[in-house]
């Protein structure tokens, strides 16, 4: 039985601020969520769907000619292959470069050094992408600093082409994407309990063995998430490959851009974009599968 509660007239009603009253309006928090949700829905999802629709509809109505184009003309799959290859190379190189840096960040005890290294990693983030890419064209050209240095030291007899080829694209993209890898690795490594490594050493594991058997396996989630971030970003990268790449290693985003603004074949551009989208989704799905079966992430049943 519910008993009626009467307010005591002698107790003064607590005055509340208007802002507090606002938060009491039922459903307000949902309204606040709705704004960003609507933003994503209308401006991102709808426009993407609208664009993808172009790949199966043209002036004549429903057609699969643009999509079949992807598989009948070798150039598209070839460009896709080059894209996957470059993204993979960039991912592997950034992983190899970033792992020691992230490990150092975790291991360094002095706060000053830590922020110094972190700053060095983050500086590229604060400089315009275009500036950085043009800087690379200065460094990598035949009469650029890198070639001159290698020749003056005697490693090279004559300048090697570093620009407008795969090497240039890989160097430029690695530079841009490296911080993402370092930060992903660092986030996971920072959470690894160093006492686990100590424990392994206490049981008789030499330091390198403790690292390989304990620390490295535990950092694999960071390796995977960092690689995923770099690889997926690498797949759709545009400015760097457009400026540093050449005709032989055209990446898929460059091809899309040409169809949009040069040949003005938006239907074909849409079909290529759909191809990239599906490949990216597949990569994400496979990684998700791997992450899900990781015992470290398993919770109490």
């Amino acid at each position: 039985m519910a008993t009626e509660v009467k307010t005591d007239p002698r107790v003064p009603v607590k005055r509340v601020s208007p802002a507090y009253r606002l938060t009491r309006i039922p459903g307000l928090q949902w309204l606040l969520l709705l704004v960003p949700f609507a933003y994503i829905l209308f401006l991102v999802v709808f426009s993407i769907i609208g664009f993808f629709k172009l790949s199966i509809y043209d002036e004549t109505g429903f057609t699969l000619q643009y999509l079949t184009h992807m598989f009948t003309e070798t150039v598209y799959l070839q460009v896709l292959w080059v894209t996957l290859k470059i993204a993979a190379i960039v991912t592997v190189i950034s992983l190899l470069l970033a792992y020691p840096v992230a490990y150092l960040l975790v291991k360094v005890e002095s706060k000053k050094w830590k922020s110094l290294i972190m700053g060095a990693v983050l500086i590229p983030f604060w400089i315009s992408l275009l500036v950085r890419t043009f800087a690379w064209t200065m460094l990598l050209q035949e009469q650029g600093i890198i070639n001159k240095l290698l020749i003056s030291v005697g490693i090279l007899q004559e300048p090697i082409p570093l620009l407008y080829n795969t090497a240039g694209v890989v160097i430029g993209m690695t530079h841009v994407l490296l911080p993402y890898m370092v930060l992903s690795l660092y986030a996971v490594m920072e959470g690894i309990d160093q006492r686990l490594v100590q424990a392994a050493q206490g049981m008789g594991a030499r330091p390198w063995k403790a690292f390989i058997q304990i620390f490295f396996p535990l950092s694999l989630t960071g390796v995977l998430s960092g690689s995923l971030l770099v690889f997926v970003q690498g797949l759709g990268y545009f400015i760097t490959p457009a400026l540093l790449g050449g005709p032989d290693n055209m990446m898929i985003s460059v091809l899309i851009q040409r169809n949009v603004s040069e040949t003005l074949n938006w239907h074909l551009a849409s079909a290529i974009a759909l191809l990239l989208f599906i490949v990216t989704l597949l990569v994400l799905l496979i990684s998700f599968f791997f992450l899900r079966n990781n015992p470290v992430l398993k919770e109490v049943e």
Binding site: G202, M203, G204, A205, R206, P295
Partner: protein, 366 residues
Amino acid sequence: MALGDSLAIVNVSKYYKKMKAVDNVAFKVNKGEFLTILGPSGSGKTSLLKLIAGLEAVTSGSILLNNQDITSKKAYERDFGMLFQNYALFPHMSVFDNIAYPLRLRKISKQEIVKRVQDILELVHLQDFASRFPKQLSGGQQQRVALARAIVFNPSLLLLDEPLGALDKNLRQQMQLEIKHIQEKIGITTICVTHDQEEALTMSDRICVMNKGRIEQIDTPENLYKKPQNRFIAEFIGEINLIRGEIIETNSGKAKVSLANQKTITIEMAEEIHNNTILIAIRPENIQIAERESQFNNTFRAKVVEMIYLGEVIKTKTITEAGQELTLKIPPQMSKSITCGKDVILGWNNDDATVIPDKEAAVLYA
């Protein structure tokens, strides 16, 4: 089964920059002994354990295992089992793989590993959990796995770092006995670090009490409780009453002491005390309420000021005529006759008291 080894710490010091974490510490742990290093936080007990484990290097001094110098040996060369406070179980390995890890490092054959892991799992009552991962276990189960992993390779020494700190009270008491039983069963020499005095008293053969990087006293739990050698030990372990007195004369180990209430008592002195001001230490359970003054060696007239009901006993605070605060524990049935504000006669026997130097006074008189 391990027969146990002896360990000697010889004048070991550890400095962190200018801070003395461990200050010229020396003691010996006998074969098969369970020694606990007990101390408040910041006393240097964990630093000392890390030095013994080889996880950190000593600044000076040496560590001997069976009379052999192991000071310069690295952690992975020392062959000690260690149980960490947070258990340090490898989250990416199953219970079986965790326990097998030290065995695999020692290149033991597969069949032998399976047999030894199964045996040790039986010892800690976790036979059915071999394929689970650490995250799927409760705190107590994780602790058993960590213990199993620390002893499965028959190490020469078992080191426990606040082994029960993360468990709730009931489980902690149960695990104290279980660890003690397992330790006795396999006869492994064990050094445990804790700040919990109940844990230390329950499990240890001997306790080494540390304070500010130094050893205050090493003794059996009973002696530590009954015969504290100084004020720190007296106040750190259990509750105690300290009564200030002046030595009038000493004669063959006995001293005549005059107390604040103008009474003079004769009391045995364990060791030579050089300053005249001393403290008489007496546990609350050794002070009783007397009916007549002649019943005990010493009596005080006092007034009851506070009574706290603790279930088994009533903790009773009194103030004597001389202004000395004395705490005692009385059985609950006495609460009918004793109330706050009542005048009582408190009595205790000289045998139950210990004389300790009054450190503050020593500084004053120096």
